[in-house]
């Protein structure tokens, strides 16, 4: 399932990140690599951005980006 499908407060594990190399690289530099635990903290209405916690820090991702991250519920 995609990151946008998990409910607020749920935790998942990143399976893969789709998208260009620059993008996956940038996410990896922030700690978003396959196998990492990721918790959704909240999101805004009307397909707004999503707030997550990863590696102990909070991060905001645009919705389009979040939909490219596949996760597995923990």
């Amino acid at each position: 399932m995609s990151l946008t499908d998990i409910k607020d407060g749920q935790t998942g594990i990143i399976v893969s990140v789709l998208g260009g190399k620059a993008l996956t690289k940038r996410l990896a530099d922030l700690g978003l690599t396959p196998g990492t635990e990721i918790t959704v903290l909240g999101r805004m209405l009307f397909s707004g951005p999503i707030q997550i916690e990863v590696c102990g820090s909070r991060l905001v991702l645009g919705k389009g980006l979040a939909s490219k991250i596949t996760v597995e519920l923990k």
């Binding site: 940038r26 530099d29 922030l30 700690g31 690599t33 196998g35 707004g48 951005p49 820090s57 909070r58």
Partner: protein, 643 residues
């Protein structure tokens, strides 16, 4: 001075780690801020005199990695490799140790001498995080210093450490990754042995596996056969891991970072939900978040403008008598009149900078230092996306409400050229404090406050529509928002003062000289008696199309210097400050609409010119003039029905 008393260090780290605070604390007033050669990225340098040593400090742009993703990253890595600073101080946000360590590992790969400054340890402790400093030092093979930059504690320890270690020449170890990756790196390093490039061989090998474009083309020029081997190794890595080899490497780094974090960090569980956590939840809540934002920003604008109006009136009464003094001293010759216009321009600048722009920035940077600005980007992201830019663009808009000059300059935080340009164009349409003086002084005072506020809503809707159109016209993929969300923390006075001064300095040094020079120039045209001719040339537009008095043609020319001059000069020409005697309600609203949009002021134009080239700057001006005239004429015709 002997050479061994001279040291140079650079500060490197991710955004939000407190790098600027460290820099400001160390260098104080001995700062020099310029641009990196040929780039629109700020280069901050400074000097510290400490115990007989002269320490040159360079603040590298805040970045997340050393791959060629953005200009900042290339600048930083090239600087470290080419200039070989004595030490790289890696400033780390201790509350986000794991993420920050990913960058630290990349610094270590560069094989440069580094010192870790674990910053914000006080906040980390508050969150129940304690760090085993010794162990971290051992695992990374690099010295670690604990700091709280906002209070200045631990910062001299960094310099002491630098001075101590300079003699010792400690051996830094590069981080060790998983076995199969190390084998690949070793094989490539062997092939790269003695290659004529300024980088360490192991680092080149890693970058080749990461498929870094710049490094690949450099190696291609020297030893193309290595690339063949790289391809083969990458493919085997990809087969084992199922991901691109660049991701495999990044993965290794984050694994190592998380292992180090696990071994060195202790989190005391069971702490209560803090006030800051609750604030964080409320301010980013789906509905409440927007309410809080409207409340905070609305309060900020109301506060700043009511204070500004009061203060500006005070200044007015002080400056009022100065013209007479000047005439007494200098006489009434042509030169004296020009001299007065230079003084008058300066005073008018003071009158906009002190009462409006200064308090505006103080407010803004309090919000920023507190951690709220990132929340605004989060809340506004989806609306901003409709204009083809992401949430961070909203910050430039808010700054633009104070003054368009720093608003346009702040567009540099946007990642792509396309977004930077769209944001800058839209910022020039944001009603700045000078425009607000007109809107409130004319429409708000004589037509009604609701009309004035209506004009603001109108402006915001227009900006939205224009943003939508320009994002369609300027082709390209919109960049998605990726932004670390900082924790709330108590704003620090020192940081706010520094940031406010930085922004104000831009206004003073970029805007002021231009405004004064053009003020004198226009006064010269005026004294030469050419103004009536100009206003009659413009009258088909001003009188026929817009239904305004002919005199407004001249005012609009002066307004290019600073928009509020339109109002100031209107009073001077008409000999009254009671504008309702000379202008009808429609005329006031029409004039306000023209003033809002017709052209960016000269200082903003100069910023556009510098950052985007004269062609684009001119296109923006011409389009905005045409747009404002057409729009205001239509508004006038609609208003004719209402009044």
């Amino acid at each position: 001075m002997t050479d061994d008393k001279k040291i140079n260090i650079v500060l490197a780290g991710q955004g939000n780690a407190g790098k600027s605070t460290v820099f400001n604390y160390l260098t104080g007033l001995h700062q020099h801020i310029g641009n990196w050669a040929g780039k629109t990225i700020e280069k901050r340098e400074g000097t510290l005199f400490y115990n007989g040593y002269t320490v040159d400090v360079l603040d590298l742009p805040g970045i997340y990695s050393f791959t060629t993703y953005s200009v900042e990253e290339v600048i930083s890595r090239e600087y470290i490799i080419q200039q070989k600073p004595d030490f790289v101080i890696n400033v780390i946000d201790t509350t986000n140790l794991e993420r920050n360590l990913i960058f630290t590992l990349q610094l270590l790969e560069l094989e440069c001498p580094i010192i870790l400054a674990l910053n914000m340890v006080d906040l980390a402790n508050k969150k129940g995080i304690t760090i085993d400093q010794k162990k971290l030092q051992n695992l990374l093979h690099a010295p670690v210093v604990l700091t709280v930059a906002s209070r200045g504690s631990g910062l001299t320890d960094i310099i002491d450490k630098v001075i101590d270690l300079r003699k010792e020449k400690i051996i830094y170890k590069t981080p060790e990754y998983g076995k199969e990756i190390e084998t690949c790196i070793a094989q490539l390093s062997l092939l790269l042995k003695g290659i004529d490039l300024p980088y360490p061989e192991r680092w080149i090998a890693i970058k080749l596996l990461e498929k870094d474009r710049d490094i690949i083309s450099l190696v291609n020029g020297k030893r193309p056969e290595v690339l063949e081997k790289t391809k083969q190794l990458s493919e085997s890595l990809e087969e084992i891991h199922g991901h691109d080899s660049s991701i495999v490497i990044a993965d290794e780094r984050s694994l190592l970072a998380s292992r180090i974090t696990r071994e060195t960090v202790k989190i005391t569980p069971g702490r209560k939900i803090s006030l800051n956590d609750r604030l964080a939840a409320i301010t980013t809540h789906k509905f409440l978040g927007y309410l809080v934002m409207i409340f905070i920003l609305g309060g900020m604008f109301l506060g700043v403008f009511s204070f500004g109006n009061w203060f500006s009136d005070r200044l007015d009464s002080i400056f009022q008598s100065w013209h007479a003094y000047w005439n007494n001293i200098a006489g009434t010759s042509f030169a004296a009149a020009l001299g007065w216009s230079a003084i008058e321009s300066t005073l008018a600048l003071v009158q906009i900078a002190l009462p409006y722009i200064l308090p505006f920035y103080v407010f803004l940077y309090i919000l920023e230092d507190w951690g709220y600005i990132a929340r605004i980007s989060f809340l506004m992201d989806n609306l901003m996306h409709k204009m083809g830019i992401h949430g961070k663009g909203c910050i430039s808009f808010i700054i633009g409400f104070g003054c368009n000059v720093p608003g346009c300059l702040s567009c540099r935080i946007m990642e792509s050229k396309r977004e930077r340009f769209i944001t800058a164009v839209l910022v020039t349409l944001v009603p700045c404090s000078a425009v607000s003086v007109i809107v409130f002084g004319l429409v708000g005072k004589y037509v009604g406050l609701l009309w004035a506020l209506g004009l603001y809503v109108f402006a915001i809707i227009l900006i939205f529509i224009i943003g939508k159109i320009s994002s369609k016209l300027l082709l390209g993929e919109p960049v998605e928002l990726i932004m670390p969300m900082p924790d709330y923390k108590t704003p620090q006075l020192k940081t706010i003062i520094y940031q406010t001064w930085d922004a104000l300095k831009e206004f003073i040094f970029i805007a002021a000289p231009l405004v004064i020079i053009s003020g004198v120039l226009i006064q010269a045209i005026n004294l030469a008696g050419w103004m009536p001719a100009i206003s009659s040339v413009l009258s088909p537009v001003t009188v026929t199309w817009l239904g305004l008095p002919a005199i407004t043609g001249i005012l609009l020319i002066f307004g290019i210097l600073r928009k509020e001059l339109i109002l100031v000069m209107l009073a001077a020409y008409l000999g009254t400050t009671n504008f309702s005697d000379v202008l009808t309600s429609q005329q006031m609203i029409t004039l306000a609409v023209v003033s809002m949009f017709y052209v960016p002021c000269i200082a903003t134009i100069s910023v556009l010119w510098r950052d985007y080239g004269w062609k684009k700057a001119m296109i923006i001006c011409v389009l905005e003039i045409l747009f404002a005239i057409i729009l205001a004429g239509l508004v006038k015709r609609i208003l004719d029905f209402i009044f």
